[in-house]
Symmetry: C2
Subunit: 347 residues, 2 copies
Amino acid sequence: MTERKRVTILDVSRATGLALSTVSNALAGKNHVSEETRATVLEAATRLGYRASTVARALRMQRSFTIGVLVADVANPSSPDFVRGVEDVAIREKCTLLLSNTDGDEERQLLHMRTLLDRQVDGMVLISQHVSSPAVRALLDASTPFVLIQRRNPLFPDDYVGSDNVIGVSEAINHLHALKHRRIGFVRGPSDSSTAGERLETFLAEAKRLRLKVDDELVFKGDYGFETGVAAGRHFLRLRRPPTAIMGSSDINALGVMEAALESGLSIPGQLSVVGLDDIALASFRAINLTTIHLQKRAMGAAAADLLIERIRQPDRTPQELIFPTRLVVRGSTAAPALPEAPRLRA
Amino acid sequence: MTERKRVTILDVSRATGLALSTVSNALAGKNHVSEETRATVLEAATRLGYRASTVARALRMQRSFTIGVLVADVANPSSPDFVRGVEDVAIREKCTLLLSNTDGDEERQLLHMRTLLDRQVDGMVLISQHVSSPAVRALLDASTPFVLIQRRNPLFPDDYVGSDNVIGVSEAINHLHALKHRRIGFVRGPSDSSTAGERLETFLAEAKRLRLKVDDELVFKGDYGFETGVAAGRHFLRLRRPPTAIMGSSDINALGVMEAALESGLSIPGQLSVVGLDDIALASFRAINLTTIHLQKRAMGAAAADLLIERIRQPDRTPQELIFPTRLVVRGSTAAPALPEAPRLRA
DNA sequence: TTGTACGCGTTATCAG
DNA sequence: CTGATAACGCGTACAA
């Protein structure tokens, strides 16, 4: 653990006998430098182990080569794929990721946003974060470029990457309908999530088209978490006329529903069909085998980062929104209901 | 998107008519400042919306208030909990996390380590990373403080946080033995992982003590991934005398084994018992219900960060190692074997 | 092609 | 208690 002093550009300058700026130019790949000098500089630089200080560069250039990412919770399997996507282009752009968990809490989000701004991040990616409150808007509007993923407020013309909630959800409900399900429960995601809202609307519209009756008791309001899924499952299964199928607001959600079903001794899909939304890696494992709506998260993360890079380069560009298609992946958690609705009514 | 210029300490200085250094002192909470001036400064600072530039501070103080974290893959449910733990203390210490995925690839790891060093991170936490190769050691030894999690090389006296592999693994094998399992397959983690090595040794030692024969074909070498689990499962189930229980090197691993078992039409735990290692959230869901060895990952992450903070403050402290206990959590993926070993031998 | 001088926003040092 | 000045390491306009 030698107490080493940092090798600066000045050391390289001294070692080569060349001027500071010459070294800088040579290193930066400017063309005003003779090949010979450049070689000398490069040799000395590697020999001394010189590495440019990103900090000094950031101060000078007013650009930190850093992208801030706000996520609800890295430990939740839903989010990391987005992050990987962002990272993919960050690496390409020679940027580093500053990652913070907000746990869906607005105070924490504000705190982290301020921290990111203090660090002069070149831009921020907000994944399913709060986007409407005055405090958040104030920070957002008068600062760094940013891109939203999966949650926005249509009132604000922000750069946005989301998923097409119509295709996936309507595919799912039609799939269930084709299997003869006539009572379908729906778990709604966070109340302030635009995405969650769109999904519910699609569900209701499509249900109407299919002439399915959706009473209030068939819509459960919660968030994307496991506990919400469990609570929803318990709620639905306690109804006088329980649904024969339940659509979760996320895969984790759907797992919660499965949990509740299994704790009641119901078999899946024999006595209850369950549909998720996300298609996390685990959904495809046979032990789970969840029918779900697939989201292209890594691609969405990358697209968001690309949008961000564009906006950094061109701050006055008109805001763009990118909507990724979703599709239903049918696996083993859905099947025809054990008792069709009709006979049951006659009983 | 107003093209706002950053409010600097100079602006505050001008607004108050006080000297630059006085403002700085007041803001920094130094005690050489009269209450009155401090109030003036604070008022002006908040009024103007002044926020100190972390970048400038980093350059001046040679301390970036940043902790670098290297992780194999955030998208893998095994790692994020460690990260959360590190983050817990980072927030307490007013530090930010610079997170990078290495995918277990040494080149990527080296790349990211250099990036972190260029950014003058105050320290690094390496979670299950390469720690022995000359290239890695060179970077490690002559630079920033660092702490290792879950993988180290005993030859180097590094700060280290790991788990007690003896307790958990021996509990697991004894549990299986008590259930009358006599042939147990073992999936070994990455060959260069100290932790994976210790676990195998414990397994073999305990097997010997219990007079279980462990032929070579009962040890499968791979990594912590799902695919390794699948491959291991297939390998074991194809043996002339397949094991009646299999211990994975991680939960994801164990899920892979379950996958292979289910694809062969074997029921769990009826015809095959499976044990994982990690206790990820999903392991406790009824749909999975995995018997596994619990690791206190968030606590370990926090402990590592604490160690790091200590080392930053006191670079010449003698290296410490912290070993966290592990314990077996018995769930539904283990049971007595369908056909005891003895009758089978008679057949 | 090369060298000089200055600015980026802070904090540390030392003088008043 | 307050204020002037010098770093921190790099990029860049401008002069040579």
